[in-house]
């Protein structure tokens, strides 16, 4: 063994001798060995071995490598096949380019979708405890149905940790969105808006965000601590060395001082949680005060569960957890893996029904469709061209070529062109990735990691083998005798399959056209649907700083500004469902049926500013002074309460009696995915912190400028941060809009690829039938009759495709629309339009070819032979 120790690595030596020219072997291996011993003596054995490998690889140079010449049969056949493939590409440029363009666009669509899908699937999987990291959801039984949501009681985390042994760690948390743009931090001079939240002590032990300074254990243990991200630290102090420094935080009228306990690296883009700073949950508890009880849902709860537990059994066990503590509660908690929320986040009547995964699946299917369409082109064109290569195959077979080697040749041809296309597709993907990122709102990048390369090679092989399968199997099956005798005519099977493929291809395209039309219509419907209130020209501004203490004056002066038509305030976002209550009692109420009311605290002129229609009674008005004992309901609420002549009646809300002063018409306070539910509006002397200002649509800029200068003088030190209400409204449909745009692009690509195939096929048929057409023309056929003859075949195919595709697309469209509570009707003309579009596109594609053929001079095509 000792002797073996000081010899160069054998494997490297064998590699060297394998590729090195024989006449160099002696000198080179001698040189390398000398080098090896010298390094071994001077440094170490392992260094010497490593260096040997390094030297070997550096001999991979043209001058030193064996010139590979072989007379072995397989090698010559490879060479031969390559040559034939190359010559075929050169000879039939049109079909080569059609295949290449089709495959390239198909593959780059597939690559883009692959990047997007793998990014979606990786979302929130960054945490080390991913497997054991769960979030608590509550299922509420109300209005005779089940509703599931992530909002839990602030008390739940501690209670679960104390009483459920499977819970190893737990932290309460709040959602950044709850505080909207109302959170800010300051370094004593400048106030900077930032996204913040409150989290329990063990939050950073549950979630493994990377720490730049500080450690997770002590990040939130002190009530006066704050954790901020790197970029916020840079904004505040121009450095990240800020642990121990003091910052002030502001949340509406609340504020406090905190000392920075840790600095986080900026959150990665594959985290669905995005925040700039975190405060201890104990502060939130103090703010909520009496509101921390089992009937108030104002926190998220995250837990780490023990390893290897049966989650179903555990969920069963804790179902009554809340009811055991709070009699009369209608909620049952359950645990759901945190990282699954991103993709599987939608619940319907207590059952998990989908979420983003729908789009992930949709686009995966689209990617496969597009690839299949591109493959069909390849199959069609190569079988169509088969006749041209029949002699080659016949002779090969006569000379003894086996079927396997022929299959291998044609598969190889397909794989070769696919990999060429794959190379082009990578370049293309690389170029359009920035635009794609813009469209999808992601930060994807094409990095050549082993996974991506593996996936690309797999996609390429799959496509190549699929595209090559039919021609390879089909062409190799002919009998050499009939080929060489020229007896082989297009058999029934061949034509049938080729037509079938075109039908299939066009059916897919029609489905995509219908899809695009439906998505587009639905999006437009959402954007133009009358919501029951006017969302145009309404600014949403926060009320903060000095304005908080002088709200009444603030609103009075605001209303008097030129360009401002009206102003009010509300706690409700007006674009999504917010707080709700079941604590309403009235005469004749069935105590067993809890009814849930969406609740909004509002200020004077709420109804007027938003243009909501009053059906009965009146709205809150300054004329009547303090309206604290009054309440307004929407139509649905009155219906749900089953009340006649509601105005003037009394109800009990949270133990206080209130008089109904008005009923307003239903309006859409949330997205159109959900139906309008019972809603109530109540009043308190202190207005809410979010003002809605209706401005003059004619002079928007002027009005905003007026509000800005007013805000500055009224509220020194604060910059006006305004948003248009309809922008917020659009933002909630961003997922649908992206799907709409993306599906338009991908459907477009699918159609273009289909058309390329059709074009190739039309060109081929026209060429094959030249003689027939020549004779027809001589016998007196007109141009028109020839065009009809040639396009008749294609028309039939497309019509069959349309007939097959429409029912399928109807069901798909129905399925997608079922996710909306308010949706368009699927009119017949939508499908008619898609069918006609497919037909017109097909005609345009083949039209050029057929016209060219019809115009041919019969002498040209009949003179030879």
């Amino acid at each position: 063994m000792n002797n073996n120790k000081y010899i160069p690595p054998r494997l490297a030596e064998r590699l060297l001798l394998w590729f090195l020219r024989n006449d160099l072997a002696e000198e080179v291996s001698g040189d390398l060995e000398e080098r090896f011993y010298k390094t071994a003596a001077k440094k170490s054995l392992s260094k010497a071995k490593l260096n040997y490998w390094y030297q070997v690889f550096h001999y991979l140079r043209p001058f030193a490598i064996k010139k590979y010449r072989s007379n072995s049969n397989p090698f010559i056949m490879y060479q031969h096949n390559f040559k034939l493939t190359y010559r075929n590409f050169i000879k039939y440029k049109t079909s080569f380019f059609i295949n290449l363009i089709g495959l390239t666009t198909g593959l780059s669509s597939a690559l883009l979708i692959f990047l997007w899908v793998s990014d979606e699937l990786a979302m929130d999987k960054l945490h080390e405890k991913d497997e054991q990291l769960y979030q608590v959801f509550l299922t509420h039984e109300e209005n005779s149905s089940l509703r599931t949501g992530p909002e839990t009681q602030g008390l739940l985390a501690e209670a679960l940790l104390a009483e459920v042994p499977e819970v190893v760690m737990a932290a309460a948390d709040t959602e950044t969105e709850w505080f909207g743009d109302n959170f800010a931090v300051s370094n004593g001079e400048e106030v900077i808006k930032a996204k913040g939240k409150f989290s329990g002590e063990d939050y950073f032990n549950l979630f493994s965000y990377k720490f730049k300074h500080g450690i997770p254990d002590r990040a939130l243990s002190d009530k006066s601590s704050i954790v901020i991200t790197e970029s916020l630290a840079l904004k505040l102090f121009n450095t990240t060395q800020v642990v121990g420094k003091t910052v002030e935080w502001h949340l509406l009228h609340l504020q406090g001082e905190a000392s920075i306990s840790a600095v986080l690296e900026d959150l990665p883009s594959n985290s669905s949680e995005q925040f700039n700073f975190v405060l201890p949950f104990s502060i939130y508890k103090d703010i909520i005060g009496d509101g921390m009880h089992w009937g108030n849902f104002n926190a998220y709860t995250y837990v780490e569960l023990a390893k290897d537990i049966n989650i179903n059994a555990l969920n069963h066990k804790i179902a009554s957890f809340v009811k055991d503590r709070d009699e009369g509660s209608n909620v049952s908690p359950f645990f759901k893996q945190f990282s699954s929320n991103y993709l599987y986040g939608t619940f319907n009547n207590g059952i998990q029904t989908g979420g983003r995964i729908t789009y992930v699946r949709l686009f995966s299917v689209i990617a496969i469709f597009i690839l299949v369409i591109a493959c069909i082109n390849f199959m069609n064109l190569s079988t169509a061209r088969a006749s041209r290569r029949l002699k080659e195959i016949g002779i090969k077979k006569t000379l003894g070529a086996g079927r396997v080697s022929l299959i291998f040749q044609h598969m190889g041809e397909a794989v070769l062109i696919t990999f060429f296309a794959l190379f082009l597709a990578s370049l293309l993907t690389f170029m359009i990735l920035p635009e794609f990122n813009e469209l999808t709102g992601k930060q994807l990048s094409l990095q050549f990691t082993p996974e991506i390369i593996g996936a690309a090679i797999l996609i390429g092989l799959f496509t190549g083998l699929l595209a090559g399968s039919y021609p390879a199997l089909y062409l190799s099956g002919f009998k050499p005798v009939s080929i060489l005798k020229g007896k082989l005519n297009a058999s029934f099977g061949e034509v049938w399959i080729r037509k079938g493929l075109v039908v299939f291809q066009f059916a897919l395209s029609v489905i995509m056209i219908v899809g695009v039309l439906v998505v587009f219509q639905q999006i437009r419907f959402i954007q133009t649907k009358s919501l029951g209130y006017s969302k145009d020209n309404i600014l949403k501004i926060p009320v903060e700083g000095k304005a908080v203490d002088n709200m009444a004056t603030f609103f009075d002066e605001l209303k008097n500004l030129p360009g401002v038509l009206n102003a009010t305030a509300t706690t409700h976002s007006m674009v999504e469902s917010g707080a709700y209550t079941t604590g309403i009692h009235w005469e004749g109420k069935d105590p067993d049926v809890p009814i849930r009311f969406e609740q909004a605290r509002v200020y004077y002129d709420f109804v007027e500013t938003l243009g909501i229609k009053v059906l009965e009674g009146r709205s809150f008005s300054k004329k009547f002074g303090n309206e604290q004992s009054k309440i307004i309901f929407n139509e649905s609420a009155i219906e749900a309460m089953d009340m006649q002549d509601p105005v003037g009646k009394k109800i009990i809300m949270w133990g206080k009696e209130k008089e109904i002063i008005g009923v307003v018409k239903d309006f859409h306070y949330a997205s159109l995915h959900t139906p309008v539910e019972p809603m109530l509006f109540y009043f308190e002397q202190q207005p809410p912190h979010s003002a809605l200002v209706k401005i003059d649509g004619e002079n928007i800029q002027e009005a905003i400028a007026n509000i800005q200068s007013f805000y500055k003088t009224f509220n020194p030190g604060y910059m006006l941060d305004y948003k248009f209400l309809d922008q917020n409204y659009q933002a909630q449909y961003i997922a649908e809009q992206r799907v709409s745009v993306l599906s338009q692009y991908f459907a477009g690509i699918a159609i273009v690829i289909s058309c390329l195939g059709l074009f190739g096929l039309a060109a081929f048929t026209a060429e094959r039938r030249q003689k027939e057409i020549g004779i027809r023309k001589i016998l007196g056929a007109g141009n028109f009759s020839i065009v009809t003859l040639l396009s008749g075949d294609f028309t039939k195919m497309v019509l069959v495709a349309v007939c097959l595709a429409l029912p399928v697309s109807y069901f798909l469209a129905q399925y997608w629309l079922s996710g909306f509570a308010y949706k368009i009707d699927l009119h017949w003309w939508l499908f008619g339009l898609a069918g006609v579009a497919a037909l017109v596109i097909a005609w345009l594609t083949v039209g050029f070819q057929t016209l060219k053929t019809a115009n041919i001079n019969p002498v040209q095509c009949l003179k030879d032979e």
């Binding site: 002696e26 000198e27 080179v28 291996s29 001698g30 040189d31 390398l32 060995e33 000398e34 080098r35 011993y37 010298k38 390094y54 030297q55 690889f57 550096h58 001999y59 991979l60 140079r61 001058f63 030193a64």
Partner: protein, 108 residues
């Protein structure tokens, strides 16, 4: 006729061949190059350059003696040809003439 212009690396290799004399074979040249310039170089790169210089006619080579430290294998010893000598002195003359025109150097 191959190109007769010398690159910097080629020039150094040629000089080293001249310096090393009877010991001028690929490993020694690479070794000497590293110790003289402090730049790492692979034997393969040196060998490739030697090969190119031979093709240009600046070097000749023949198999030399074997030694135990290289597993009893022979080495290929390179030596300068007359045209190799000339191209080296041309390169030196060219540099010297350039340096003599360089005011900073000539004056100081």
């Amino acid at each position: 006729m191959k190109k007769t212009r010398l690159g910097e690396f080629e020039e150094v290799i040629l000089l080293l061949v001249g310096i090393l004399g009877n010991e001028a074979y690929a490993f020694k040249i690479a070794d000497e190059f590293e110790s003289q310039t402090d730049r790492p170089v692979s034997i393969g790169a040196v060998h490739s350059t030697l090969n190119r210089l031979s093709e240009k006619g600046f070097l000749t080579s023949e198999m030399g003696s074997a030694s135990a430290e290289r597993g009893g294998r022979r080495k290929r010893i390179y030596s300068l040809t007359a045209s190799g000598q000339r191209v080296l002195s041309d390169a030196r003359d060219f540099r010297v003439s350039l340096w003599s025109q360089f005011p900073g150097f000539a004056g100081g």
